[in-house]
């Protein structure tokens, strides 16, 4: 199930909230949450819930087994087991096809490139005669695997206590607000709230507002921006057909729209997750913090998908590879993995390393000297790097990527400018302006005016409530015309 969907907004969520608040006992509330989370997960591909339950059980047991043996060799062994199991599962389901593809290309073998997930489903279908949907990637596996990893490692490091109750552990892993598309919530961050939590009035109020904000970001802005992008470039399904005619100006316009689209799509999803989490009394950390106001790439990654960046920083950066050049080894690993995490394709790896390159470059220049760059130049630098980066991200096959770069610098043989681009800008002028404005903290600043006086507080809050209702209604209407608009992060 996805969040930006009428069925979710007006059926699943209300029913879930009513059930949840019908009881005051935390035990029942937890049960309700787990139940609804499993229904939520099973909605798209019921079969993969087995994997989720298996991973939960294995890691729940491992967590409890590791805790008392932290200092011993056996603890190390158990930790290794857990790492191998989790990373192995992720590798099997997400990367086996990709690995086979590369082995085939290198060694000339003919391994099946379908991937492990597809293989299993097809086996099952042929054995049982069922007609399971052949989706190769269990939805959300990248997210819940990382959540579990953070738990296991933190238990080993002694940062958190192991969870003795399977129900509570399952609730942590399967919590539906963040289950399928993040943010990656660490066990340490919500440990206390898993044990005991309260929904206060302000949580409910903020939760609703945040939910609506996220839905609006996704439905009103991101979805419509994405149609601009497909209008300019086409998409993976039609082989990026637009590349054949898009002009240089159009290409630059297109990637800037991509950058905005991704921000609103990803942060919209995080907003919804944080909002719903808050209604249930969970406080997830922020996942996006106005990334486009960054003045350098290092800062950008501290503001973009924070939960992923910090995961790699905390758990991966210090893995010693490359011997003496450990610092660079760690960096390489982090950015290689960041790329790979986003998808089993070379363009994603390229995308990750591309950012790694700029991070190293900025390290070499030094923070002080970076700061001396005039802010206009700094913003232009970040915009160009990020936008071109999303070009790499968007074009998943290398020939298209090559063609994109040719168009970008104007050697692809296409025109410099075209009428379609101009019309697209005009047709979407207000949408684009809104996207630009809402990706800066302007609104936050305007909102803080409400702190000045009672009158301002009433005005701003009333405005807020009216906007809440209006944005919800507009989003709902727009959800009608588009029956299929999955979040981008669902693929990861």
């Amino acid at each position: 199930m996805v969040f930006a969907d009428l069925f979710f907004l007006y059926f699943f969520l209300p029913v879930c909230l009513v059930c949840y608040f019908a009881t005051k006992k935390l035990k029942y509330r937890n049960f309700i949450l787990v139940l609804f989370s499993l229904i939520f997960y099973a909605w798209g591909e019921p079969w993969w819930i087995v994997l989720l339950l298996l991973s939960s059980t294995v890691n729940w047991l491992l967590g409890m087994a590791i805790e008392p043996r932290r200092e011993k060799r056996s603890g190390k062994f158990l930790l290794a087991t857990a790492l191998i199991y989790n990373i192995g599962m992720l590798g099997l389901f997400k990367y086996s096809g990709f690995i086979a593809e590369n082995i085939n290309a290198l060694a000339g073998t003919h391994l099946s490139e379908d991937g492990f997930g597809l293989f299993i489903v097809e086996k099952l279908n042929s054995v049982t005669g069922l007609n399971l949907k052949t989706a190769a990637l269990p939805i959300g596996i990248s997210f819940y695997t990382f959540q579990i990893l953070s738990y296991i490692i933190d238990v080993y490091w002694g940062k958190v206590k192991s969870q003795k109750s399977f129900g509570k552990f399952l609730m942590y892993v399967s919590l539906f607000p963040q289950l399928v598309a993040g943010p990656i919530v660490r066990y340490a961050d919500i440990e206390a709230e898993i044990e005991d939590r309260k929904t206060k009035l302000v949580d409910l109020s903020e939760g609703f507002s945040r939910l609506i904000l996220g839905v609006s970001k996704k439905v009103i802005i991101a979805n419509n921006l994405s149609s601009i992008v497909t209008a300019m470039f086409g998409d993976n399904d039609n082989g990026y057909a637009g590349l054949s005619s898009v002009s240089t100006v159009g290409t630059w316009y297109g990637i800037i729209v991509i950058a905005l689209w991704y921000y609103f799509d990803f942060s919209g999803y995080s907003d919804i997750a944080i909002g719903i989490g808050r209604m249930f009394g969970f406080h997830f950390n922020e996942n996006f913090n106005y990334p486009y106001i960054s003045k350098n790439i290092t800062e950008f990654w501290q503001r973009w998908h924070i939960s992923l960046g910090s995961f790699f920083r905390d758990y991966l950066l210090y893995v010693p590879i490359f011997g003496k050049r450990r610092k660079y080894g760690g960096l390489f690993l982090v950015w290689f993995c960041t790329g790979l995490w986003h998808g089993a394709s070379w363009n994603f790896i390229l995308w990750g390393l591309y950012y790694g390159l700029f991070i190293v470059l900025e390290m070499k220049i030094g923070r002080k000297r970076m700061r001396k760059i005039p802010s206009v130049l700094a913003h232009i630098y970040v915009t160009i790097v990020v936008a071109v980066g999303y070009g790499i991200f968007y074009f998943e096959d290398l020939p298209s990527l090559g063609r994109f770069f040719k168009n970008l610098v104007g050697v692809g043989g296409n025109a410099f400018a075209d009428a379609v681009t101009g019309t697209s800008v005009l047709n979407n002028l207000f949408l684009l302006l809104a996207a630009l404005i809402f990706s800066t903290p302007i609104v936050k600043k305007i909102r803080s005016l409400g702190d000045k006086s009672v009158g301002a507080c009433i005005t701003m809050n009333t405005l807020g409530i009216v906007l809440n209702v209006a944005m919800l209604l507009v989003s709902s209407l727009m959800l009608l015309s588009n029956t299929n608009n999955p979040f981008l992060y669902l693929r990861f």
Partner: protein, 585 residues
Amino acid sequence: MENKENIEKVSNTEDNKNNSENNNTETKKVVTIEMPQQKGIKMVEGMVVGVDVVSEERDKKTINLQLDPKKVKKAKNMQMREEKKRSRKQAVKKIGRKFGDRIREGVKDEAPKTTDKDMDIRACRLEMNFINVIAMILVFAVIAVMLIVIKREDGRSVFENRELADFPEISVSQWLGGNFTDGVTKWYTDTIPYRDDMLSFSSRLTKLFGLHIGNDEDKVILDGNRGDIEKQTLSGTVTTPKVEIFTGTPPTGTTTDGADVTTPSGTVSTPQQTTLPVNNDNTTLSNGIMIVGSGKNVRALECYGGSFSYGKSYAEFVNKYKKELGQYVNVYSMNIPTAFAFYCPDKYKDDYGDTLDNINNIRSYLDGVADVDVYSALKKHTDEYIYSRTDHHWQPLGAYYAAQEFAKVSQVPFDELSTYEKVVEEDFVGTLYGFSGYNSELADNPDTFTYYKPHNNNDLEVYYYSPDFTDKSVRSTLFFKAYEKINLYSTFLGTDQQIAEIKTDCDNGRTLVIFKDSFGNALVPFLTGSYSKIYVVDLRYFTPNAIEFCQNVGATDVLFATCMFTCTSDKANYIENLRVQNKTK
């Protein structure tokens, strides 16, 4: 929840921020006053846009909420009323005082570090949070209940020309496969009450996203994806091949023997089915939609992007028919431009495929097949009503000019338009309305659909067959009353699937087989005075072998009448498929 007494001051804000656990226990069951804002971290609760909750803030939450609505609602209401009264009082008191002045009140004394203003704002915020929660619950509840209670739409979506999703069947395997749950979600959105009205309203909203300025020519809305456009231009001029049209009677018994025996038999003896595109009744919008102009002149265009290589295959496929059918059967190729060819504003022409280039490309490959130059014929009449503005088809008038050109090429008699009975249907909103995402301008400015009944209409013997050329119908008619306005184009021949057989009072003894897509339907009425017998076959549904069919019905003339989207895309493969499929001999 007597927050009046319980408003406590939690001292030392800085520390509390960091010492969350401690603070958390302290503030249980208590309305905690939020700390004065510091270091620019402004936290507003209960607001909407760009909520940025700093994580530490959570530990100073304001109120314990008991959420058993039935039980506490009354109590809560009373409490809120008190709350309101108090804050109103404070607000009133504030008026006339100096900015930031202190109010001496009991509560204040307990909290010397907080200013009155902060108190007021805090109370106000609490109140607004409450209102927000109530408003949100109301909105969600009302919509959720309405969506359950109000009767849902079902059946066909007129504008989108498709069946709305049904509630899925439930079974274990359906569920395990994910089809049931998927189906429910789809059904829920697809059958929303008042769907069409809401969609049209939603499209009006999206129109607000941008500027739509300029005169009609410049006022363009682009919608949908840009497809793969092969910008090819032909080098040199295309010489239209001269084709001898055989109008006499073929030597007896040569209908089949007349076939060119030197036909390369390789392809014939090993029928190779070509890859077929997905068959859908609607024209796929591979290149998006362009909406030009406004008001009465608004016109939706399917952006064209054809492929030279498919055009070449098309020509080669048609050539094979000529080769197999032999010298006594005339084969014609009619490539029908879509409205885009004539009505796309000049400045966009470079961004899309060029219709004339693609037609010329096809012509350059035709061999033994007569070309019917509909492009030139229509070009002369572009200021007439030859294309619908809201539908992807042409108007019957356009088909008339095309038929006229065809009659000229095939050297058959042709009835002038004045001999026809004119029928006018108003309020025709065609398929492009749905394709454009319910563009309201189109709905507000419908087309007039004018068609023409031949003078011999009542004498026509019309029969329909199923796509495998069986199940002959009772004597029928050429024209049908379209059951929905959007389907006015299907006035001709009803549906596409069936094979039509028309016996006319024309006595030249010639038999025409038309292989067509939906564009071809409109041609038929204008040819009833030109051929003794006409068979109309849709490329997409026909199942017998096409060559055998032509021979069996004694075709003297075979016309391929397809729009540009068919003859320059993978749909051209249908033609080859019909030729090689289901041979009986």
